[in-house]
Amino acid sequence: MARKVTTGARIGWSIAAWVVALLIFFPILYAVITSLKTEQEAIAGFSLIPSGTFENYVTVQTQRDYFKPFMNSVILSVGSTILALIIAIPSAWAMAFAPTKRTKDILMWMLSTKMMPSVAVLLPIFIIFRTFGLLDSRVGLTIMLTLINLPIVIWMLYTYFREIPGEILEAARMDGASLWKEIVYVLTPMAVPGIASTLLLNIILAWNEAFWTIQLTTTNAAPLTAFIASFSSPQGLFWAKLSAASTMAIAPILILGWFSQKQLVRGLTFGAVK
């Protein structure tokens, strides 16, 4: 039986939700506002009213090339996501539908790799990249981003796959489906919401990754994170320009998130209610 919710409670919860949402979104909003201020206004103190200048966007465009890092961001985030899914779907299938005694340990081990600070492995990774000629290359960085996000992708897919009744796959097998057909034609279509949300989340994570993308690139493979970092200045004012660069860098991913929010929410709550 549904619990009765009073109007007062509904309004209260709505306000609370709005406040939390605004708090989370506020840094982004303030960056956009700051990008429309002059440098003097930006550093003068807290204010929500900008003078409305677009000069910073013009300066950012004039000083640096936006298109190349933008394309690099697209290639790296999409490329690493596709690669991660290709590896993760069969892995998650194996763990969800053919678990062994060690499956849980493997899952925990994969997650544990995320607990190590990236800087701890900077030098070995750098030397490996140098040895194989992968420094400042899109291929190298795509592999790197795939590897660092792979544990999360496998975990998410594993969770989604566990919600799918194994009997359906068994039925497909009894009908003569090969393993490949079982994964591609039976499992994947049923897990589309989960796969889609994993894909979107991974794109967002790869787009925003700002340690390896700055450490392992110089000019050819540098994505938008490096583009933003280049506007920080040791002498002279830069907050407004930095905000303009940040806004330009996050705009594509914000738009993607906006249009795919239904899919994201659907995927993230997939299996929450049985």
Binding site: Q40, I43, R64, F126, R130, A229, P234, Q235, L237
Partner: protein
């Protein structure tokens, strides 16, 4: 198409491909300073004169640049052919053989024209390891109108006693004007740059000849107490979070009677486009304490160097020679005006009449730079070089830790005595661990 035309076309195409293939690409790591951005814009002049060299720029945040370059050099990555580094790093990196000596700058490169103080800081055992792109010392920038109103006249060589008095007299809390704006934000290159120079001018030092920290000595107590009192009585609100950029804004908006900071700021505060007080600014040399002959010895330069891991050292030195030459200065002057040329590296610039006419801060800047000697930064003998910093690898971390302790004093969260005691303990521990104190 005749065979002859075809062959000619093919030869031209081959020649083009050969030229393109033989072009060397230099990767230059730099910071986002106005002068550096200007240099990037003028690079086409260099590549036009050197069609066999292409230039790629990597602009990074200052600390990220240090991390990236040190990783690259340590692992022999060879990603950068030229790096932009400060005069703090140059001697340290040169001694570790991370940089190549600049021996290929060419015959036309007038090395003797480089300001001696700057050149000295970039040389190890007589060899130049980095070429200065622009240099700076520190000086007083003050509001002539506020001084006049308060009946004050800036002396030729002001003392801290005069500065304290003038700061109090020009403070006007009702109109939100602070008598003095100084760095308070924690960091080895932020508040500690100022505080170290202040302490030098008070006769103090970071370490004695045996590397024993000196925070327990009366000079440190006097200088830090002076700084804390001055900021309390005549400094702006929230001074503990003000660095170069914050004070620049305050001064440009007419909120400071005085600002003591890097000489490079003079071109910002005197630019009517950004500064409300552009026509009211006077300049004077960094103060000294009565009875102590020392003006702080603040000296900084941004320099271009070739990392030992570069595989294109010859082309790299060619670029450095161009970017730090007298001809480059002329080029900037012709395109952007004399006030925008990179200052503080060459004597000839300060003999240029056009520059002196257009940049009112030229003479005080030169005076400030000539007064700075990083080879003898303090009155008492010391085992290190460096003015507003100590040129040892451990200084970045130690300077920042001590900077946090001193910033807490300005924020009112700690006392001078407590901060000095903590600084002494930290510095003693760090220097012992690093093997300086036996």
């Amino acid at each position: 198409m005749t065979l002859k035309t075809f062959l000619l076309g093919a030869c031209s195409a081959l020649a083009f491909v050969a030229t393109t293939a033989s072009a060397e690409t230099l990767t230059i790591a730099t910071v986002n300073n106005g002068d550096m951005v200007r240099m990037q814009g003028l690079t086409s002049e260099f590549t036009k004169a050197n069609p066999d060299i292409e230039v790629n720029w990597v602009t990074l945040e200052e600390n990220v640049l240090r991390e990236r370059v040190t990783t690259d050099i340590a692992a022999n990555g060879g990603q950068y052919d030229i790096v932009t580094i400060g005069n703090y790093e140059v001697p340290i990196w040169a001694k570790q053989q991370w940089l190549l000596p600049l021996e290929g700058l060419g015959d036309k490169y007038d090395m003797d024209d480089l300001l001696p103080a700057i050149r000295g800081g970039l040389s190890v055992e007589g060899k130049l390891y980095a070429a200065p792109f622009y240099g700076e010392s520190a000086m007083i920038m003050y509001r002539k109108d506020l001084f006049e109103k308060a009946g004050l006249k800036m002396p030729e060589s002001p003392t801290w006693e005069f500065i304290a008095d003038a700061a109090k007299k020009t403070t006007d809390r009702a109109n939100d004007i602070s008598g003095i704006c100084l760095r308070g934000k924690a960091g080895w290159g932020e508040n500690m740059a100022f505080v170290s120079a202040l302490n030098n001018s008070f006769g103090g030092r970071w370490f004695d000849e045996n590397w024993k920290p000196q925070f327990d000595q009366p000079e440190w107590k006097a200088s830090l107490q002076f700084y804390a009192d001055l900021m309390k009585e005549a400094g702006p609100q929230g001074a503990s979070s003000n660095g170069f950029n914050e004070n620049l804004t305050l001064f440009q908006q007419g909120k400071c009677g005085m600002w003591i900071d890097a000489t490079v700021a003079a071109s910002f505060v005197s630019n009517p486009k950004d500064s409300k007080v552009a026509d009211k600014v006077g300049y004077a040399i960094f103060p000294s304490k009565e009875g102590v002959s020392n003006h702080g010895n603040w000296l900084w330069s941004w320099n271009l160097a070739v990392p030992a891991s570069s595989k294109k050292a010859e082309a790299a030195q060619k670029f450095i020679s161009w970017a730090t030459s007298k001809e480059y200065t002329q080029l900037v002057a012709s395109k952007e005006g004399w006030a925008n040329v990179p200052p503080g590296t060459r004597t000839s610039l300060y003999n240029t009449e056009d520059y002196k006419k257009e940049a009112a801060f030229a003479a005080p800047t030169l005076a400030a730079m000539q007064a700075a000697d990083i080879t003898k930064p303090t009155v008492k003998p010391v085992p290190y070089t460096g003015g507003q910093f100590v040129a040892i690898p451990e200084f970045q971390a130690l300077g920042t830790t001590v900077g946090q302790l001193f910033s807490a004093v300005i924020a009112g969260q700690s006392t001078v005595d407590d901060a000095l005691a903590a600084a002494q303990a930290t510095a003693t521990r760090d220097m012992t661990r690093a093997g300086y104190i036996k």
